[in-house]
Symmetry: C2
């Protein structure tokens, strides 16, 4: 990307949970933004967002919205990305897309900057941001793969409602009050009550019995780690948590694992924060991860039977590292050239 002192940036889906987080992270990290253009569907047009102390009016997303801009951060769902992503790229923007629309397309890089920043250079105007549950897992897996070669991963997720969006955050809030007041829970976003419940259902079901969310964890992990031989057996579950996803991960490797060595490796791995002192009740927690940038890894322990396996507990803020932060880290690599 051409070197400039400031870059004009569009945020598509600026009023959503991820879009709002993108705005605050651009601000926090002092990304060199020239003009900021918040875009959304006509429903949200006219509302205002704050950026660097200024109120900016949200504009309606249209085919000509991207003229003259440098970077477009998309987070408004797959169909918006499929329609407007190529238009933005055609207009000369580099698109960083948080939807699943382009992730598995062969020529489009799928990037976690701690892992495969080299893939960014090769982009055809669109770079895909991986799925939230995948990003935090691969940040923890990459150093393990480098040292011990991963063969198989069995993962169960504990995913917060903010991954679904603002309406789901509101639904958990309202339903929780209703249940505490012994009222029936009003269901709109999820097919079943999410308050005080666990739903083994994220995204839609495929004929195989797996959900699309589960298949994202399988396919995206292989693409990001650039190793199609890695087996992933996932169960993705929505839990009544507002922010941050947790994951229980069992990893089988080719080489035997020395747990103390692994802890050392993870303690200095990029993007990882080791939180592993169970005797002092210190382990990764969603409430601690919310609002933070690192992927927290803890409860690291040797498999009880298999010397080539280890268990981990991995927690990260799904709106930040799982979405907005990762996208902006990609943008930072882009402008570094």
């Amino acid at each position: 990307m051409e070197k400039k002192s400031k870059y004009d940036v569009a945020v598509v889906g600026a009023t959503g949970a991820v879009g709002r987080t993108m705005l605050s992270i651009l601000e926090e990290r002092k990304f060199p933004v020239g003009r900021l253009v918040p875009l959304a569907s006509s429903r949200s047009t006219g509302t205002q967002v704050e950026f660097n102390g200024q109120k900016i009016t949200v504009e309606e997303l249209k085919a000509d919205s991207f003229e003259g801009l440098d970077i477009a951060l998309f987070s408004a769902g797959g169909s918006i990305s499929r329609e407007f992503g190529p238009i933005a790229a055609q207009a000369g923007c580099v698109v960083i897309d948080n939807s699943s629309a382009f992730r598995m397309e062969k020529d489009i890089p799928l990037v976690v900057p701690e892992i495969n920043p080299h893939a960014i250079g090769d982009n055809p105007g669109i770079i895909a941001n991986p799925n939230c549950s995948t990003i935090q897992m691969v940040v923890a897996l990459k150093p393990i793969h480098d040292r011990y070669r991963i063969k198989r991963v069995v993962v169960s997720t504990y995913q917060s409602v903010s991954g679904t969006g603002q309406s789901a955050i509101e639904e958990l809030r309202v339903q929780s009050s209703q249940v505490l007041d012994k009222q029936p829970a009003a269901k709109e976003v999820y097919p079943h009550q999410i308050a005080f419940n666990c739903l083994p259902h994220i995204d839609t079901f495929l004929d195989s019995g797996y959900t699309k969310e589960e298949m994202k964890m399988v396919n995206e992990t292989r693409k990001i780690l650039e190793d199609d031989s890695i087996q992933v057996s996932p169960t993705t579950v929505r839990v009544p948590v507002f922010y941050a996803h947790s994951e229980a991960v069992n990893v089988e490797t080719e080489k035997a694992i020395d747990v103390e060595e692994l802890k050392k490796i993870l303690s200095s791995a990029p993007g990882v924060r080791l939180v592993d002192a169970p005797g002092k009740t210190e382990y990764p927690l969603a409430t601690d991860a919310a609002g933070r940038d690192e992927v927290m890894v803890g409860r690291i322990r040797a498999d009880l039977d298999n010397p080539r396996a280890v268990n981990l507990w991995v927690v990260a803020d799904n709106l930040r590292k799982g979405a907005a932060l990762n996208a902006i880290q990609i943008a930072e690599f882009l402008i570094r050239g």
Copy 2:
């Protein structure tokens, strides 16, 4: 046990979450109770419990509490069981103990009536009731083991606060209100906020990095299924749910698994209710399992890479099948002779 028309029954810990459930299940299932003796520590002495429409005053647990009684259902923690269990057995009671005190003792049967009722006959006056998270898992695993021989299980749990007791139910209620009101969460029972959070910590930590709860799932599974070769790799997690535990279970077997055959086997397995129509958003849920007797099994799907593995989602009421119901089912086998 000697045949009688009625049996005099003590419930030790009668005011706790499991104790109360024991009383209501004895009633529901019309267990032939002659005299019911609710026992508790001096703290709860004098409070009243309801049984079959009568109010009965809770008595203080003492060494002579068991004279002349037939059955003693214990659910007041390990130290109470260790102190008073042998005394009750000595007095001629058969003790059915819900604590972990005796579960792994060689001569004491550890029983899930759907699986190993034959072990009941052999008791030295004490029969152990397994841990809640183990019971529901083995009810689902037993038919799989019989048909395909289980080699390895990777399990992640989503356990409700009622497993900790009444005080934890209250803590989740209070903290949830506090968080919804943007107040700090008051912590008493758990070391961290449980409302809108997931704690990868149940029972105490061992030097290995595993918790005692996790080791219960390993050791009790082997004892109940009578096969020490079964490998179990567990992560046990407390989630903000009031009633019923959920479990994501990956099972590796010796023989290849035909998923349609397995669904058929599970649909007629004792104690199992198959709930597996994801296209209609039907899968086991904690909110549906609460108050029910069966272990709900669903999301049954072939492992994506290993033809000798399958994923399941297993949900049951931890106070009922996970504790009180299982204990009373043992008592029913006992009096059947």
